[in-house]
């Protein structure tokens, strides 16, 4: 029997395209600059989108899973570029805090520029070279590494074989590699798309909270009937994220 609820769900647009993530959540899961994401979503890279004086979080943009998946690939590039930045200049002199901040801001700015310039190709392998060009500091070897990282990150997204729509994403729980386990999943059908353990839907955030409160890995494994390896992987994933969702 088809209920009114079934009918409403069936008439909804594809789940991947329904906004389910707040700006702050995306910033946390991607560990990406919040205001860069805001400008990206508002379509204006020069200034944030207009907000009324009495704004609330409801005024901020929301992201669908498909948008999140595209940004996930882009954010991997951002982090690699930032990691390559050295705290010393070419002569080995240490950068001042102001210079360091300036560099990070510049990487973020270039990242935004890429996001705006390459939106149609964001979710495709074709963007591999497009992203490398704006960054003058890239050597050919680093370009190759960046391309490999993007390809590896892209492989973490499971898509509909017919239409290419992203269905679920297996975020890295440890440093990216092709052998990295797929223990954590983000699936818009499960837990409203928040990171959870594969196969049982336990949110990683809750495991992280309990661990920080004092529960041991063994206690968590016992309470959830899970292998301790899965718990450790979830905690490893949480440790890669900022401690809390940014306040906005």
């Amino acid at each position: 029997m088809t209920t009114a609820l079934d009918a409403r769900i069936e008439t909804e647009p594809p789940l991947s395209t329904v906004p389910i993530y707040s700006l702050a959540e995306v910033a946390r899961y991607l560990n990406a600059p919040l205001f860069s994401l805001h400008r990206t979503a508002s379509g204006d890279r020069c200034k944030p989108g207009p907000l009324p004086l009495n704004w609330t979080p409801d005024h901020l943009p929301q992201f669908s899973f498909a948008e999140f998946a595209a940004l996930y690939v882009e954010a991997a590039s951002f982090h690699l570029l930032r990691d390559w930045s050295s705290p010393t200049d070419d002569e080995g002199k240490e950068l001042s805090i102001r210079e360091w901040e300036g560099f990070t801001t510049e990487v973020a700015r270039q990242w935004e520029r890429h996001l705006h310039g390459g939106v149609p190709g964001l979710y495709s392998q074709r963007a591999v070279h497009a992203v490398a060009n704006p960054y003058s500091m890239l050597t050919p070897a680093r370009e190759q590494l960046l391309a490999e990282l993007r390809a590896m990150t892209f492989e973490r997204i499971e898509s509909d074989q017919d239409c290419g729509t992203p269905l679920r994403l297996y975020p890295f729980t440890r440093d990216p590699s092709r052998e990295a386990p797929r223990v954590v999943v983000m699936d818009p059908e499960v837990r409203f798309g928040r990171p959870a353990l594969v196969g049982n839907g336990i949110p990683t955030e809750i495991l992280g909270e309990r661990f920080r409160a004092g529960d041991s890995v063994a206690e968590l494994a016992e309470d959830y009937d899970l292998p301790s390896g899965d718990i450790e992987e979830a905690l490893r994933f949480e440790s890669r994220l900022p401690y809390q969702t940014p306040l906005v």
């Binding site: 769900i9 909804e12 906004p19 389910i20 059908e189 837990r191 409203f192 839907g201 949110p203 309470d223």
Partner: protein
């Protein structure tokens, strides 16, 4: 107490919370006893709501309903979610047991749908927003 509500304890609360609530006399159903571990939101939430069961969870996202989809799914749901914060399993269980009577009172007096947050200071209905 007659007509005590049935609580559907989300798997994210582990085993310690339902065990403690049962010991305190609550009518408790464990999520995994009725649904597969792979059950989708669109599968289990409507069924739990149709049965009139109250969802107990620690999934704070369920109270930050930002999309139409969540609104549809939670259209008839009664949800009590633990407040944000780091808590050990034993502390979560103790908090639920301490406020069991208040939760039962809320269910008896507040028509669905609602999402209430349970914290050390008690229960607070956050959805629908007060005054909305």
């Amino acid at each position: 107490m007659a007509d005590r509500p049935t609580f559907n304890v989300d798997r994210c609360l582990g085993k310690v919370v339902p065990a403690a609530l049962r010991e305190a006399g609550a009518d408790v159903r464990i999520h995994d006893d009725h649904f597969t571990q792979e059950a989708l939101d669109t599968d289990w939430i409507p069924i739990v709501s149709a049965n009139g069961w109250v969802i107990l969870t620690k999934d704070k996202n369920i109270r930050r309903t930002c999309g139409e989809r969540e609104s549809v799914l939670l259209a008839n749901a009664r949800v009590v979610t633990l407040c944000t914060g780091n808590m050990r399993g034993a502390d979560m269980a103790a908090l639920f047991v301490e406020h069991l009577a208040a939760m039962e009172q809320l269910v008896a007096t507040h028509p669905p749908p609602f999402v209430a947050v349970l914290g050390p200071l008690g229960l607070e209905v956050v959805l629908p927003k007060p005054g909305a």
